[in-house]
Each structure stands twice: as structure tokens, then as C-alpha cells.
Amino acid sequence: MRWTSSVRNFFLMPAVIWVLVFTIFPLGYSLYAAFHNVTNETIVNRMEVPRLDKAGEPVLRPDGTPRMKTEVVRETVTKWEFVGLDNFKRLFTDTVLHEAIKVTAIFVGVGLAIQMTLGLALAMLFNRDMPGRSLLRTIMILPIFTTPVAAGYLFFTIFYEEGGPLGWTGIPWLSNPSWALFSVIVVDVWQWTPFCFLVFLAALQGIPDELLEAVKLDTNSNWTTFREVLLPLLMPTIVIVLLLRFAEAMKVFDIVASLTVGGPGNATQSLSYLAFRTGLRFFDVGYASAIAYTLLALVMVVVTILFKRIRTIYA
């Protein structure tokens, strides 16, 4: 049941061209930049120009020559110097980058483990008749769409160590490097566990009751039912949620920018945040592009492994 008219291209092409222009082009540009050392130089030119009066006429000296003044013209010149693989070689010796990779890996690994397990547990918990369930579910959805930067600032007020609502714990939430990374993870867990929960709950409710009743004839153990029946049925959903969360978590920027600004020290500086700072704060565009490509490569490795599974979903 598929049409083959050549009209099809008028439908599809605008979107395809748009995406090509706005992603392939910048990616190519980035790659080009990664092979260059890009420096901004401010050239200050002093020029002698005639002084003008309000009517725009030159002001004349008594001897008839125009009065001159010095005008300073600043011009930013970007210089592109081809440096071959230098930026990529730097990746291997840059300890700040290595720390950022470690921070990102811990953030993604620990964060996703908590979100997936907790999300699944909550979905099992909510997958039964209870009074006011849809209201509880609605409240659980709220964190997903809160502005991530706002969530970061919000948790800043909560993690405030003197007088915040968690101050009584005495935990150095944001001032201790390890705790600060944990706090960043907590915000992500708060925002995205509800997403995992919601999707798993939808998947659980898609499992027909007859099937579960049939299973009850075989075993009374909830654990066996979960492991032998529910988990395999949920597997495709778990894979897609894991993949989506992985892709999003690898990009983490907003929470870091608002909650910890990468600190204390570089303890919570993620790869995205490092690339951003290198490129737009220190204007080391070439190296920033190399960092961005490192991040892209790390994401692609995992996505490629899972690619076949994703493709079958849309086939």
C-alpha cells in the first residue's frame, strides 16, 4: 500500500534539505575547524579623518585646511591556521578533558542506572488499581517538562548548605567535589525518572491481562513472573528508553551550567560544558571542535551498536 508517484519528493524534500543545511553543514564546518588553530586578533587602526560640524561639513582651520581628528577602528580578524592533527593529539594529553570524560561517564552511568531501576520499580508499583492513580501519575509527569536550567537553580536553593531544606543533613552538597557530582545526578534523576516511569507504565499496561492470568496458573512467585515474563516483554521498551536517555544524558549542559558552573574545580564539568567554555569563553575554536567531535564519537559508538534494534522499530 505504498504510492510511488514522483510528487513524493515535493512532500519530503523541504524537510530533508532543511536538515542537511542546518546539521551537515555545521558538522562539516566543525570538522574543518578541528584541523585548524583559530585565533581572533584585534587589529587597531588609527586614522586621521577631518572633523565634521553638525551639518556634515568639514571644520576648517583659519588657514583653510580641515581640522583633523584621530579615529580608532577596531577590527576583529579571525585567522585560520592549518595545524593538521594537533588538536586531536592534544585530546590525549589534556587532563582537564580526561576529567570531563570521567565526569560525563559517571553522570551517565550512575544517573541512568538509578533512573531505569527506579522508573521500572515505580511503574510496577503504580501498575495496580489504587484511588487517585491518574492524579498521582499527572503529578509525577510535572518534572519532565520543567525547564532544565530552572530545575538547576531550583535545586541550588534546595542544596544550599546553610539554611536550605536539606541543610540539616550536614552534607556538603555543592562544595565537595564528589557530592557536587552526585547533586547534579540527583537533579537529572528527579527530572527523568518520571519519564522512564511513564513509558514503562504504558508498556506494562499494554500487556494483556489474560497473559498474566495464564502465568498465575504456572507460578505464584512474583519475582519469577517478573523475571521470566514481564522483563522479556518489556525489553524492547527498556532498550529504547535506555538509548534515548543515553543520547540526552551525554549532552548534559543545562544542569551543570545552572547548579554548579562545572565546579568545585572541574569536578562537575561535563564534555558539553567543557566544549562550550573552550569555544565560546576561551575562543579556542579549533580545540573546542575537536572536543565536540570526541563527544560525538562516544555517542555514535553506542548508538551504532544499537542501530539495528532502532531500525526495526521504524521498518
Binding site: L12, D129, I144, T146, L154, F156, G279
Partner: protein, 290 residues
């Protein structure tokens, strides 16, 4: 042993309902835990600055302190705050409409026409979402600076449209697939063109899903921070960037932080609640039907 069996049934039922009510209480506790940060924001935003750290208990308005709307009044009366709100609305609405206009025909095409591989094209659109945005940030920054689009809403509109386009393509493709093709084919027997069938038959039927998609991508555009803080430097700050900027200049003022966070959060959260039925499908990019 029929007697033993009969005696066991009610007991089992009682034990089951015991588990159920424990689960219910646990579910309420967890929900409250997840709700706490939002509640805390509301509570902080209603406090007098002087009360910020002195409240007792868990800061319940009227019981632990006298609430005031002063923070909201102050915040909304600044011209910067108002301008940020306006920029956010303009960018989000335009990007949403643009993404729908580009994405819906593509989605329809992928649902109805045969290409060399519809699945591969769909996944190609999806792969955008996997791309770390920071990899395109610097090129965009340089190019927009060179062509004079830096610090204009148009730069943000172009970029956000690109980011949300995959959502439209993938979600709407699934929606069109679920519609019966016979309606469109009979319209075409009656002389409608492919375009006519799309506009007059498929589009009206897909309208509810399109509206929900629009709400979800509006929320995404609204929440976007990396580009809006890098490219909208002074004149075109959107709400999230405005919030971050105020922290830089004014220092940390918890009451304003909470107030501003709430103002930034309310539109996307409200829209998401309206689109609740489509959230699972939307956020899993059509892979899981909610």
C-alpha cells in the same frame, strides 16, 4: 480439602488488599517526594526575602510564614523580564509552526509513499536527536556572527526548528500510518490530487495529534538553553537565559531565583499536561505507544 481451600480465599484477599494499600501509601510518598522541589519553589517564591532562611517546618504558606506576591510583582514589572517572555513566545511559536510546516508533509510522505528505504530515512531524521548540539554551536555562532544574525530571534528560530523537526516527522508519520489510507484513495478516485488528499483528508484527521506535537515541541524550544544563552546575548534573551543572566549580575537571591524558575517553568509544564495523552509517544519518538 474443600474446607481449607474455602477458608484460605478470604484470608488471601485480605492480605492482598493489605499489600495494595501499602503500595498505595508508598506511591503517594514517592509522588510527594518528586513534587517537593516544585512545592519548595512555590513556597520560596511566596516568602518575604527576609523570611527566606528563617521559616520553620517545611515552609507551608500561612502556617509557617505570611505569604506575599511581591516577588512576582517585582519580577514581572522589569522590562527585561517582560522582553524575555516576549522573545520566548515569539521564538517558540514561530519555530513550532515552521517545524510543523516542514515536518508534516515529510511525515505524510514517509507514511504513504515508497522511497528507497522509508525506515532509513526516518532513522536519519531521528539521528538529529542523538547529535550533541554543542558540536554545531560554534559553527552556528561564527556563521551567524558573520552574516549579522547573532543576537536576533531569527537565529534561534532557525536552530530550534532544526532540533524539533525530527519529533514532528517521527510522531506524525506514526499518526498518518494509523489513519486508513482508503479515505485518501477514494478522494483521489474522485479527482483529488495527492496534495489535496493530504490537505483535505489526512490533515484534519491528524489534527489532534498535530496539536499535541505542537505543544511538546513548543515546550522543548521554550526550555532550550545552550543556544539561547550563547546566541541571544543582549537583545534576544529567552526566559532560561534571562534567568541565568540575572543570577550573574544580581548575585544569588533565592526568592527571585524561585520566582523566575516558576515563571519559566509554567508554560511548558502546562502545555505538557494538556498533551498528556501523547507524551509517551512523543518523548519516545513514536517508538512506544502510550
Amino acid at each position: 480439602m474443600p474446607d481449607a481451600h474455602a477458608a484460605e480465599l478470604p484470608a488471601t484477599r485480605r492480605r492482598m488488599s493489605m499489600t495494595d494499600s501499602l503500595c498505595w501509601l508508598l506511591a503517594i510518598a514517592v509522588t510527594l517526594l518528586f513534587f517537593f522541589p516544585l512545592y519548595w519553589a512555590v513556597s520560596t517564591s511566596l516568602r518575604n526575602p527576609a523570611d527566606t532562611f528563617t521559616v520553620t517546618g517545611i515552609g507551608i504558606p500561612f502556617i509557617n510564614f505570611t505569604p506575599t506576591l511581591d516577588n512576582f510583582r517585582t519580577e514581572l514589572s522589569t522590562p527585561e523580564g517582560f522582553r524575555a517572555l516576549r522573545t520566548s513566545l515569539f521564538v517558540s511559536i514561530t519555530a513550532t509552526l515552521l517545524a510543523l510546516m516542514l515536518g508534516m508533509p515529510a511525515a505524510y510522505a514517509l507514511a504513504r509513499f515508497r522511497y528507497w528505504s522509508n525506515a532509513d530515512i526516518t532513522v536519519w531524521f531521528l539521528s538529529q536527536r542523538v547529535l550533541p548540539p554543542v558540536a554545531t554551536l560554534i559553527p552556528f555562532y561564527i556563521v551567524f556572527r558573520n552574516i549579522g544574525l547573532l543576537d536576533t530571534p531569527y537565529a534561534l528560530i532557525l536552530i530550534n526548528t532544526t532540533f524539533v523537526l525530527p519529533f514532528v516527522v517521527v510522531i506524525m508519520r506514526q499518526t498518518f500510518l494509523d489513519l486508513p489510507v482508503e479515505l485518501e484513495e477514494s478522494a483521489m478516485v474522485d479527482g483529488a490530487s495527492y496534495f489535496g488528499a493530504f490537505m483535505r483528508i489526512a490533515l484534519p484527521l491528524a489534527a489532534p495529534a498535530a496539536a499535541a506535537t505542537a505543544m511538546i515541541i513548543f515546550a522543548f524550544t521554550w526550555n532550550e538553553f545552550l543556544f539561547s544563552s550563547s546566541l541571544g546575548i543582549t537583545q534576544t534573551k529567552m526566559m532560561p537565559a534571562h534567568m541565568a543572566g540575572a543570577v550573574d549580575t544580581r548575585g544569588i537571591q533565592f526568592w527571585f531565583m524561585a520566582t523566575r524558575a516558576l515563571i519559566a517553568m509554567i508554560p511548558p509544564v502546562l502545555l505538557a499536561l494538556l498533551a498528556q495523552r501523547y507524551i509517551v509517544r512523543g518523548l519516545t519518538l513514536g517508538a512506544v505507544k502510550g
